[in-house]
Amino acid sequence: MNGKMSCGDCHEPHSGNAIAGTGVDLEGMNATCTKCHTQQKGPFVYEHAAMKEGCVSCHNPHGSINPKMLVARDANLCLRCHLEAPDAGSSGQINANAIRHTSENHNSRLMQGTCWSAGCHEQPHGSNASYHFRN
């Protein structure tokens, strides 16, 4: 969008923290993104709580070395919050010990691609079909 957007599309330089719609204003920070990215606005049947932290949790709106302005292009993007930790009860396998009792071993899947790009959790902005944001 280089040349087609300017700072003023998202920032209000003369108010508060200079992000349009935050502070005590009526819109949330995400509204500056979803006014154009309507497909990611929702509401979805299954909302992803990460959206409460804002689109900027995963995307850097000023640019990134990664596609889609992602903060990280690999599964670390998700593992920041959804950790896969050693579980003593599974003989050294790596299991998730958080998020709805999941104990799936994701090793072989993560070898093949990221959480979202490997054909599994394809709808990180929210899903209308699956609580797990699966396809």
Partner: protein
Amino acid sequence: MNAPRSPHTRKIRLGTGTIMAFAGLLTHGAESAQSDAFPNFESYVKITGQAAAVSGSDSTFQNRTRQPAGGGAGIEDLHIVKYVSKTTTATVDGRAMLGAEDYLGRVNLTKTDVGSIDFGYKRFRTFYDGVGGFFPLNRQWMPLANQDLHIDRSKFWIEAKVALKDRPEFEVRYTNELRSGKKDSTIWGDSDLTGLPFNLAPNPVSPTRKFTPSYINIGERHQNIEASVKHIIDQTTVRLSLHGDTTDNNDTRYVTRFPGEVIPWSIAGLATAAQPAAKAAVAPINWNNQQAIAENDAYKTKTSGLTVSSDTVLSPKLNLRLNGAYELIHTEISGGRPLTTITPTSTGAVSVITDNYQGLYGGTRLKNYTGSLALDYKATKTLFMKLALRGQSEFIRGSSGYTVIAATGTPAVALASTPRLGWSKIHQNAQTPLVELRYTGIKDLAIYFSGSKRELSGDENNTSSYNYISAASGTLASNHVAEDHGNYTLGANWRQSTFLTLRGEFFEKNHKNSSTGYATRIGDYYLLDSNYAGYKFTALVRLTSEFGFTTRYINQDGKMKVTGYLPNFPAYDSLNSKNHMISESFDWNPNKACFFQLNANLVYHTINTIYPRAGVTAATSTLSAFDTNRVIQNSNNDYITLGALSGFVINKSTDMGIQANHYSAKNGNAVLASMTMPYGVSVEVSSVTIELKHKISKTWLANGKLGYFDSKNDVMGGFMDFRGPIAYVSLEHAL
């Protein structure tokens, strides 16, 4: 009518070409005093042509430089100002760039103390590539048949404003935006054609990797209408705004899995234990069956809402602002994710069991009530305070249903449909107090602070999708959710003299998000505790009137901890991130006829999650031990940008500019390919551009640029490299 740009200031104005590559060559001041300044036309037309002779990947070139590989030409800028009367001005803007598919038509009519009307249409194109991934072990490369992907965005708008003196001010605005075309997706399909051995036990490494490209077909429409009235009553400005909004989106992602592969059914029909050995004897191209996924998300929304706000001057020192808003959103969803095998079987091309659903239907509803109150208090001439409180109550409900189509038998001979249903409900309330302070009581020093603390509590209930024919209900999840978000900033600006300005800022973001199960979910627990803190420092130094530099450093550390549901489990450090950014810029204006500028940005950014510290997966009877730390490495996002820019006054009617840029992000490690995917970014882009701007006459300007680009992407096997010259010419004429 032509207005001189500045009668005594010649600013080396190097053209405003549409291409990003030349963006840095824009206005930069050798603010030298010359009487032969380039005129700044009030009404003008600018005719442009641009062309590229690029070898290598055209689609990467287009994506990176935002211009068509085939070049383009047309009217880059048309601007006409007409003074219809002493109080009425008409303005027309236009653009028509063929090739870049960039168009604009706008008309504005403004009458002083009466109002204005503004309408227009614009459309532009953005380019994407369809290159997917690359597997280095056997140099496997599977781009889309058509890599030239693009999205066209268009917008029509009309707005009218009536602002009569001492009367209520009315505004109405309507917009209709369209977004259509194809773009790439980061979700990639599978392939066994990686050169890796089949996972014959105890080999833990599967040959399958996800690197075949996919794309999304976009068809989106967004309409919005807003009407507002603003009126001043004594010391209070009141504003009422109504808005209606609709979206109609129909997007489909197309993914191809195992392209070119055909599974031999006789082997797939063997007992599970016998399959690995049998498959190992089969040529890799026959390991899997090509599958096509068409994931369709259709989404319609209707939004309506109103906002009432007021701004009251209570005293010369005190201002009160109040806001209240209500919004209602209804969505209607449809779509499906048919996944079919390409190889004909006895039942023809069939659906397969994995993640296949069709006939998605349902909808969601959101109600949002928001209110805020803010006091601006100017306690003294040098101390300003803002106290504010925002409250929000949100209700979301949603439900959906779909049918899973499963195939059984090998080859598939029977299809079975299973209906599924799910729903969700969320209610949450949030309050956010906010404080801002600004103190300017010390000479040349401004100190500021802002802090906010958002506290949220609510309930989330949902069921995972379930078969409502065979099950009485789905698995019900009930959670109390809570948030505690603190955001703080403390900073100062000190203008020591005209030679030195220093700025510093500390910031901290301390967030807690928790979800605690109740009812059937007693025992569920998830707590995410995140902390980001850092500081920014900027020094602007002007050593002489000709030479100065700016130094900027940003440091940010991030930490996250997750506590899970299992008893006696500690809080794990789930994230440890570090970010250092150093920017340096030198400006040198040795005389009135030239300038030089050097820029450098160095970024060191790493994201470390718990996974790489997980250890070794122990051997089992069917699995060799392997180092799981290699499955996911740290995510490094380091990069460097370097830039050199200079401008020269050649003579009274000619300027010249030279620019060189370099961008390098070396975080790729293709050695990881056997264990994980993707394996980082490794890109290097260099460019050199020379520009000449010439005043042909009082009413004609000419501009020409010639650049050379060289782009390399190591982790993509060279398939995304491009290089070659780019040229740009323009003629600008006063009207």
